[in-house]
Symmetry: C2
Subunit: 199 residues, 2 copies
């Protein structure tokens, strides 16, 4: 192996090499079809069905997304960005209102994408480094909102953004019999946030 040096360079280049135009196109087509199919048909949609929708062979789907989870994560990445952006837009205004509004939107988002969210929560504890990244960015999007509320003294100091997001997502994940119930639960839980325990 006298070419180790060049081999490593090649490997490096491979990671950033621009894809061919048709490959890029198909990647997008599959992603769009997946987003649509998961939203409609739920978590269990067959990947072959998604390939068909995208007008692409199953082999192509698998080249771009080596398995179901990879595809799920890619779809999720997109969606997470939407929620993160909505946090950025709430940076001013009443701190408590901003925080709870963001949670409302998070819940609302989870409600429409329940199937997807469910699938993702199930994958959560498996090794999903990409998913960890999403979670991180969700955290750092929400953190300023929380800290502002804590600085204003309207939220107890002993909770982290990780705590709160997990809690909200847990509530959002609940398949409530009555859809209004979820909102009610969120408000109860948020009241828990306002309460400041005697240190």
């Amino acid at each position: 192996m006298s070419t180790v040096g060049t081999t490593e360079l090649d490997a490096q280049a491979l990671l950033t090499r621009p894809k061919r135009a048709d490959a890029r196109r198909n990647y997008e087509k599959v992603l769009a079809a997946a987003r649509e199919a998961f939203a409609e048909g739920g978590e269990a949609t067959a990947l072959e069905e998604i390939a068909r929708r995208a007008g692409v062979g199953i082999g192509t789907l698998y080249r771009h997304f080596p398995n179901r989870q990879a595809l799920l994560e890619a779809v999720y990445m997109d969606e997470v960005e939407v929620v993160c952006r909505s946090a950025a837009e709430l940076q001013d205004g009443d701190p408590w209102e901003a925080l709870s509004a963001w949670f409302e939107s998070l819940i609302g988002y989870l409600a429409t994408k329940r199937a997807l969210a469910a699938e993702l929560l199930d994958y959560m504890d498996k090794d999903a480094s990409l998913f960890q990244v999403c979670r991180k960015s969700l955290f750092s999007a929400g953190e300023p909102l929380l800290e502002r509320a804590q600085a204003a003294g309207v939220v107890r100091g002993d909770v982290t953004i990780a705590d709160v997001i997990q809690m909200v997502m847990g509530i959002g994940k609940i398949p409530a019999t009555d859809p209004a119930q979820t909102g009610h639960l969120l408000r109860v839980a948020l009241d828990g946030l306002r309460y400041t325990p005697k240190s």
Copy 2:
């Protein structure tokens, strides 16, 4: 169809007819194997594997439990009873302590059976009449605890047992990175229960 009357009777009898001894034995063997397998191998254990563990043919498994969900529900029924009984044992003592102790145990229970609980929550919104029964009994087990706490004025009046259990289960379902986090979240949420909103 002049025999409609008797046919109905037969159908009725069919539901309660005592099963043959070997059938009863196999039913129990499958149930035990399933309980064990789901706890160990997680939600996705192949039913064929469970049949193998039970020392029974796959056909036999399917005769007793027509599909995966039916088996899941049967296992769950057993487990739910344990939690319900623990509620009954907490009927006296400080109302708030009793209620939160029950939730702690519910959470602890979910933690050890995460895989099972996850699977069940996913099936929750599908048509699962048997599962609805379980939920009902969980509700009626917890209801006295909640009502006592509300009567004592230590829990806000505008929540139902359905609300609270859903909330607790949602939190319990969260795959927390740090196991202590779940306990912390529960306490925050419970603080929300103490808070009484100005009517």
